[in-house]
Symmetry: C2
Amino acid sequence: MMDGLSADGAETVRPRGNNRRAAVLDAAAYRFRRQGYAATTMRDIATDAGMLAGSLYYHFPSKSALLLAVHEEGVRRIADAVDVAVSAVAADSPWQRFETGLAAHLQSLLGGGDYAQVVIRDLPADEPELREKLIALRDNYEQRFKGLVEDLPLARADDAIWMRLLLLGAANWSKTWFRQDGASPAEIAHRFIRLVRAR
Amino acid sequence: MMDGLSADGAETVRPRGNNRRAAVLDAAAYRFRRQGYAATTMRDIATDAGMLAGSLYYHFPSKSALLLAVHEEGVRRIADAVDVAVSAVAADSPWQRFETGLAAHLQSLLGGGDYAQVVIRDLPADEPELREKLIALRDNYEQRFKGLVEDLPLARADDAIWMRLLLLGAANWSKTWFRQDGASPAEIAHRFIRLVRAR
DNA sequence: ATATTCACCTAACAAGCGTTTGTTTATGGA
DNA sequence: TCCATAAACAAACGCTTGTTAGGTGAATAT
């Protein structure tokens, strides 16, 4: 399924250097997204990566380290997508910038990428210190939306914080009702913004 | 099925009839909320209920049956709370009714009740038929909000569906940022409604 | 008084868990 | 060619999991 075989040629051998680490991470992201952390076994991940369970420990020291790595990669991807999208329309109106950021956020979330969805799922409660790290990662990401909402022309200054909670919350929740044959991420963002934009 | 719960006196001895079933369900709801379904063991639940793991099977045939029962009870509680709250302000404006319903929904969710929060958590992916039942339960509940948003005076007719997704989504997501010493559920509902209400 | 039912306990089961250990194979640099 | 290293395998480790089987004493029914 997820392979990572080089496209260069008929070499069955691997070109040295731990390029299978990415395959392991992909497999973990895939399983964590589909089954959640607790319900995913190391043997699940190993099977998808084409190796045995014990071999995973060459690349990662533990199961929780795998989750942390998936989260880090996921946050990095969403953050990059949002930053690129927003900076591309920097000259436009605050509402347009916010909508663009929201659309990029939704696109990352709903566009099929495993990493992003793992970030959104709620965190494991049984490993407190891991939990803290993951929360810190997500907080760091959501920070950039604070700037976007503060630029909006709102009736009250303290509306900004509620605007962020309303829109980002609804966006994160959308994974429960989103259908591939329904409204696109960009369309969802537009519809949501319409409802809160002053008329 | 056959119940015949007596409404008679308060004996210190157990009045026969499986009244410890409720204690088991409470323990399950508590653990499922705090740790999630997969990370909760039957021994966890049994300990909290003051019995041994095997004894749980006198009251429930399996772990998944326990989750289903918690969901059913949770949906019943939230639905009742919302219905009671909304019917108490039936004469008011559509916006007021919607806000009241949303506040009741948030109150159930954030007010410390374990059952309600279990309903909101995302569903176990590894048991498909159980998953279907739980989704059906939740869909059934959310149905009543469709009526509330359809009464709102909106610019477009198809805004209603988006209004519901926006507000309920943000409400369900609020469990990730809600703090006991911050805004109350009613306050949150009011703030959210303010942002989408035509000015 | 006797029998039955209830609500639990004790004790185990097989399966699966994350992880560790020792070993093997392939590779690239000296 | 020789050897250090990378990246895997094979097999087990101790432990936990959901679940089951049979037993026990008290409460109830006959």
